[in-house]
Amino acid sequence: MFEVVRGDPQADRVVPPSGFTSWLTVFTSGAMAFLAVFALALSFATGRLADRWASELAQSSTVRISAPLEELDLQTRAAQEVLRTTPGVARSRILSEEEQRLLLEPWFGPDLPVEELPIPRLIEVVEDADGYDAEGLRLRLAAEAPGAFLDDHTRWRRPLINAAERLRLLGWLAIGLIGASVAAMITLAARAALAANAQVIRVTRLVGATDTYIARAFVRRFTVRAFGGGLVGAVLGMIAVALLPSASEAGGFLTGLGFVGWQWLWPLVIPLLVATVAFWATRGAALRVLKEVT
């Protein structure tokens, strides 16, 4: 690998550059690096999303109190007392009518007369870093306020997190497939270049060149081209990601696609990976072809 980076001008002269394979390598590497940047961005974005959902939803839960109107205040006070004395609960508060109206607004529209509807009362519970024992709290609520029901969001939090994890996995899988595609395309291009230079290979073998020497001349050329193409593709991909709309609550997941902080360094690894893939793909192809030459 070091010799590839260092180069050998004499050896490079022996193998003439072959037109279409060089462009094929540069274009393939560039295009694949561009796609890999997006796959990487997707993977990071879903990772952030999963983490956010997990932390936000894990730290808050809701106690819903459904009781006859005359018992509602009593059970609410009892539930608040239970929450106040529960280890792991940092704070709790009753959602105001205005907040409940806002929660229902997407379904019923504005101007909903919340005070006239028999809707349950909601208490937002925020847990501390240690968290609370959900089962214990449920039992205590059942004893003190029979109309209170604890919703710790577990039921619908898990599928969301699972979905985000799957998306993150798909992002990495896409990067793996992109790498395999680069290897396949460069192998084909290398074999074409080797076939186009059959006479060069034959003559150099006859005057005493080792397989490693001949392979190195091809490997260096393809590795350098792949790195150059990969670098251009990665930079263009980063620019494209940077130009995406910035994250917003209204835009949801798609506007959050991108890199944050140190994550911007990750796409710069892609050209190195592309070059590494090109190195091994060309070397493998060259040594296989050379075995057929006496």
Partner: protein
């Protein structure tokens, strides 16, 4: 240095060479003759390991060719200078670069050996053509360039396949003189040719053995030359 013992070579189901035995000693001079298609080029290819004998044994520098790894074959070829009938140049390189090719592929610094290279190019009379491309050379110039490439690594053995095949008589004499000079320097020389006049001229200057391929077998000739 190169030894064939009952070597045979089959091609396409047919027997091309059979029962070939020869020992190339240091400083020897051999001619290999025979009609076109007799197998002279095939014989040389067995000697420089482009082909592997299908029977018998071929030893190069003391090792059976079948026991050599691919890299060992490449190393052994650096000790054998070959002048191919069709020269086998790389047309994108200059004449000087083609002559220096064995140095280049063996990882030696061509710049450091520039003086030797210039002397060699001058010796074969190609100083003014050294920057040209091989297709621009005449037949004789190509053969001299091929000879220069064959000896740039100071090989122990020189194998030449019809080196005078495409040149006039004057150039044939010049090429032969160069090969005789190399032999006098201690190189072992084997020339495959069907040019009997060339053989007669060589025998008038040096002690050369003449071998003939007849009926797929190697015979000692000479009495009729």
């Amino acid at each position: 240095m190169i030894e064939l013992e009952n070597a045979a070579y089959n091609y396409g189901g047919g027997e091309l060479l059979n029962d070939m035995s020869l020992r190339l000693q240091p400083g020897s001079f051999h001619f290999l003759t025979g009609p076109s298609g007799a197998g002279k080029s095939t014989f040389l290819k067995l000697c420089y390991m482009e082909l592997v004998a299908s029977g018998g044994a071929v030893q190069v520098f003391g090792t059976d060719v079948r026991d050599l790894e691919r890299d060992q074959i490449a190393m052994a070829r650096r000790r054998i200078g070959v002048v191919h009938q069709d020269c086998k140049f790389l047309d994108h390189l200059s004449v000087a670069e083609n002559i220096a090719l064995p140095l280049t592929v063996s990882g030696r610094d061509v710049q450091a050996e520039q003086q030797n290279l210039n002397e060699l190019i001058s010796w074969v009379g190609l100083t003014s053509q050294q920057n040209q491309r091989p297709p621009e050379l005449s037949g004789g110039e190509r053969q001299r360039a091929a000879l220069a490439r064959a000896i740039i690594m100071d090989p122990d053995v020189i194998l030449a396949d019809e080196p005078t095949g495409n040149v006039d008589w004057e150039m044939s004499q010049r090429l032969l003189s160069l090969l005789i000079e190399l032999n006098r320097m201690g190189k072992s020389v084997l020339i495959a040719t069907h040019d009997l006049n060339l053989i007669r001229m060589a025998k008038s200057q040096i002690s050369a053995r003449v071998l003939r391929i007849k009926d797929k077998r190697l015979q000692l000739a000479g009495a009729d030359l």
